[in-house]
Structures are given as C-alpha cells and as structure tokens.
C-alpha cells in the first residue's frame, strides 16, 4: 500500500474496542510508514496497550480494521506475525527455564529452527550472553527487560512493536536500548512503533508520533512539525530573576508565560526566540549563566491531554 511516495506498513482505520464497560479505543485511525520510529504517546489508560494488543491479534477489535504490510490482519494473521517482533508492557517468561531455553522455545513458536548462533547473537546484542544459562527467575527486572527486547528481535522481524521497552532499566541500560533502537532503524531498516511514558525518549528518537487520550486520537504527525507549533520551556539561569522577569514582561518580545523557579527564569517561547531573549537580558545588564531547554514535549503532551 502506497500513500504518496511512502510505503505504509501499518494502516489502522476507525478502530474501536470496548473492554467491559470502558470504551478503551474509540474510532482510532493512524498510519505508520516504512522506516518510521513511530512514537505512541498517551497517559495511563489512554488505550495505547489495547491498540497494540489489537495490532498483535491478542485482542479482537470491536470494529474497524488493521492492515499490516498491505494485508488485512484478520485474514492474514500468521503471515503478518512472522514479520513482527513485539515487546508488550512487561517482560514475562518461563521463569523455571534459562534465558537460552526461553528464546529457543520462542524461536520454535515462530516456526524457525532453534539455531544456537542466532540465540547467542541476540542475547549478546542486549548484553545477556554471559547469563544465557541462568534461569530467568534469577534475573533482575532490568535483565528481564533486556531479554524481552531480545525475544522481540530474535526472528529478525521487519516491524518492531515496543511497549515501554526501557522501563526498569538503569540510565546506562536505557541509553543502550535507545541506541539499539536507533541502530535497528537506521542500519537494519526496521520500522519501529515505540510506546513510552518517557516523552524525552520519543522526542529524541521518534520521527513521527501519535498522541491518544481516552482511546481517541489527539494529534498525529512528524515530531519536528508538532514541536515547532509549540512553545519550548527554556530555563535561563540569571543573577537577578526578579529584575529579569520584570524586564521581559515590559519588553517588546511577546512571550506566552514567564515563571520564577529559584534562581532560574522559566520562559515559554519559540525555539528561534531564545537568542533574542538572551541578547535582551544581557542588554538590560543581567548576567545569563546558563540556558537550558526542557520538557518541551511533556508540556505539549500535557496541554493536549
């Protein structure tokens, strides 16, 4: 399926799902294009996981359709799932088996031969090859998380669906996994759907994103375009915050919001306005010690949801 000049990998159309009395997903439509790192954002209970589970045939859609690789999921489930690797919410494994045996079993479920090299290489990719023989019940949460990512990569799928993949990882682990996601996308050409609560993560690695709330689409588009429309929160560390705030309020630059936070001045402005504000403050005799942009997507997300 081609829309314009881009190949559409996933097309979700008017998808709805009711779980008991709750309308978990309501008339949701979006598309994921080939080569995307597609950020999937929404607060808890917004319907992200329900949508992902429907995309993996774990839940039956109430109405609407899902097309993956140009094929309707309902009719070609097994063919589609051969090319999909998924990590859903939390890493659960057969605790009484080793990491290696877990992957061996999962490889067989994928209809592939349990090649030792492939399993060891995948474990190596997530830094677990030395613990391949250890039973999963001896693993920490972070290690299980890595193993969860390993099982998603195991059968070398074209499409990766990763739901909160860095949860429970230490900062170094988070960095490793983000780098791995970028590597898989850039070098291996994998299309990736990344559901995350870590908004910086989406901002730093996703090229397109969808924000949902109460099961409905709020906004979808390129991350850069969506952020351009939104004011950045920029933190100016200055020697006199009260004077700086007063001067900015009385100045010619039109700003959405100015707040004092200890020694910092939090200014909501467009990205291109930052140098202008800096010059203005310096011109008013205020010493600017540092400038830091923060929480841009988070604020945007909160505004929308």
């Amino acid at each position: 399926m081609l829309y314009m000049d881009k190949q559409v990998i996933i097309a979700v159309n008017n998808l709805s799902k009711r779980l008991k009395k709750i309308q978990a997903v309501n008339d949701l439509s979006f598309t994921v294009e080939k080569g995307d790192i597609y950020g999937f954002l929404g607060p808890n209970g917004s319907g992200k996981s329900t949508t992902i589970r429907m995309m993996l045939s774990l839940l039956k859609p109430g109405s609407g359709s899902i097309t993956i690789f140009g094929l309707p999921l309902r009719d070609h489930k097994l063919k589609i799932l051969k090319q999909v690797g998924a990590f859903i919410e939390k890493p659960d494994f057969y605790e009484y088996l080793s990491a290696y045996k877990n992957l061996e079993i999962l490889l067989k479920y994928s209809g592939l031969k349990a090649e030792k090299n492939r399993i060891i290489e995948t474990l190596d990719l997530v830094g677990l090859s030395k613990r391949s023989a250890s039973k999963v019940k001896t693993f920490s949460k972070g290690m299980k998380q890595r193993l969860g990512i390993a099982q998603a990569l195991l059968h070398d799928p074209q499409l990766l669906v990763l739901d909160e993949p860095v949860n429970g990882l230490d900062p170094s682990g988070m960095k490793d996994i983000r780098e791995l996601i970028c590597y898989l996308n850039k070098e291996k050409g994998k299309t990736i759907i990344l559901s995350s609560h870590n908004l910086h993560e989406i901002e730093s690695i996703a090229n397109r994103m969808l924000i949902i709330n109460n099961g409905e689409k709020i906004v979808e588009g390129k991350v850069s375009k969506l952020l351009r429309k939104h004011s950045y929160c920029t933190r100016f560390r200055v020697n006199d915050v009260k004077k700086a705030k007063k001067d900015l309020q009385n100045g010619d630059i039109i700003l959405t919001k100015i707040e004092i936070d200890d020694n910092d001045l939090r200014v909501f402005c467009q990205h291109e306005e930052i140098p202008e504000i800096n010059s203005f403050l310096v011109g008013k005799g205020i010493l600017v010690e540092s400038i830091k942009t923060e929480n841009s997507l988070e604020d945007y997300f909160l505004t929308l949801t």
Partner: protein, 278 residues
Amino acid sequence: MGNLIQIELYKVFKRTRSYIGFIAIIIITLVAQVAMLWEGKEMHSFLTKNLTDAFYMQGNLLNGYLMTYIVLNFLWVHVPLLIVIVTGDLFSGESHGGTFRLILSRPVSRFQLVTAKFLAALTYTFILIVIFVIVSLGFGILLFGKGDLMVIFNTINIIPENDIMWRFLLAFSYGFLGMVTVAALSLLLSSLTNNSLGPILSTMAIIILFTLITSFDFSIFKIIKPFIFTNYLDSWQLLFTLEVNVAHLIKDAVILLFHILVFYTTTLVYFNKKDILT
C-alpha cells in the same frame, strides 16, 4: 503441529509439579501393597468368611491380580487429582504468567495451540497410567505371585489365571479414557481462568460432587445420572465378570469420548475468541 506438541511436553516435564503425580502414584501403590502383604491374609479371611462356610477354596487367592484389582478400585478416586495438578495449569499458568502474550504475538494458530496442549495433557495422562500399570500389576505379581482372580461384582466371579491379563489391559485402557475426560474438563476450566489454583480445585469439586450424585440412589439423582461423566468412570469393572457385557462397555466408552469431544471443542471455541489481557 509436532513442533508445538514437543514444546508443550518440554514445558510440562521441566516443571517439578509434573513429577508429583508419578512419585505419588508409586508411593501410594507400594504402601497399599506392602500393607496388604502385612495384613492381607487376615483381611481376606474376614472378607471371605461367609463364602468359606459354603465353598471350599483352593490355591493362592490373595495374589497379585487381586491386589491390582483392589488398588485399581481405590486409586481411580485419587488419580484425577494427580492429573489435574498438571493439566489444570496448562492454560491458566500461561495466562497468569503473562506468557500467552509471548506465544500469541508469534505466528501460532490458537487452534493448533489448544490441540497441542490437549495432546500434551493426553500424553502426560498416558505416562501416569503406564506407571500405574507397571507399579500395581508388576509389583503386585512380584510380591503376591499369580493365581485366579476372585471378584465379587454382582455375583462371585472367579476368573482363571490365564484369562486375566487382557482384562487388566482393557481396564487400564478404559481407565485412561476416563482420566482423559477428567484432563479435558480441567483444560476447559483452565482456559476460562487466569489463576492456576482455580481450575485444579474446581475440577476436583466437580468430580466430588458428581461422584456423590452417582453414589446416592435418590430419584432426583437418577434423572441426571446418565448425563454425568463420573457415572461412567468405573465401568471398567464390567471387565471382571465372567461374561463381559461388551455392548455396555462400548456404550459407556462412547459416552466418555463424547464428553472429551465436547470439552475439547468448547475449549477451542472459547480460547479462539478469548482476549489476552494478562
């Protein structure tokens, strides 16, 4: 499909709980036989006291065949529990552990998965019955020797030694069919829940309730008895009459097969529609 059955069996036999049944059946059978060896003669004389007043009994009547028959009678009550400890967890264990997410997000058909689990349960039950045969019949003959089998079932049946073995083999085969029915019921209940203990306890509760209904001769129970599968679990006893009522035995076996089919199909239909939320 063969691949899936292999995986299911691998998972079953990697769990410690799967060996509880094997160990338990060996211990219970051996304990019963040793107890019989210790006090069996007195017990046998007590049970046959009225008969010895009227008949002259010759030969080794307290033999391995009689021991196997006695063990068979009381163990069929306990064997279901040993089976459902394993089979009752085959679906609910995956739901509870969250591993269905891993399996079903792969190219695995739900029909094949249910069938593989059913066949794994069937294999486990078969192995348990084979161990039961070896221990009860093997050790029975080893400890008590051979001889004619005297069974009081409707009337006194004295089955000659050379006419016994095929009856035991068929009795165990029929018993296997009964235990597969229990396993199929536990699989169905296992597919309905997300916790491991529920299906095990509910299968046992159903068996106890049905057995009670089968045991009492109240008129209200007589109406529902034909529809209760436990009513047909002990039909293997028909094999220990001099003239075996083959038609009755086949009819009961077909009813058990029908129950297995109903339990399996219901599991299949339900699981195929089931939303995986764990």
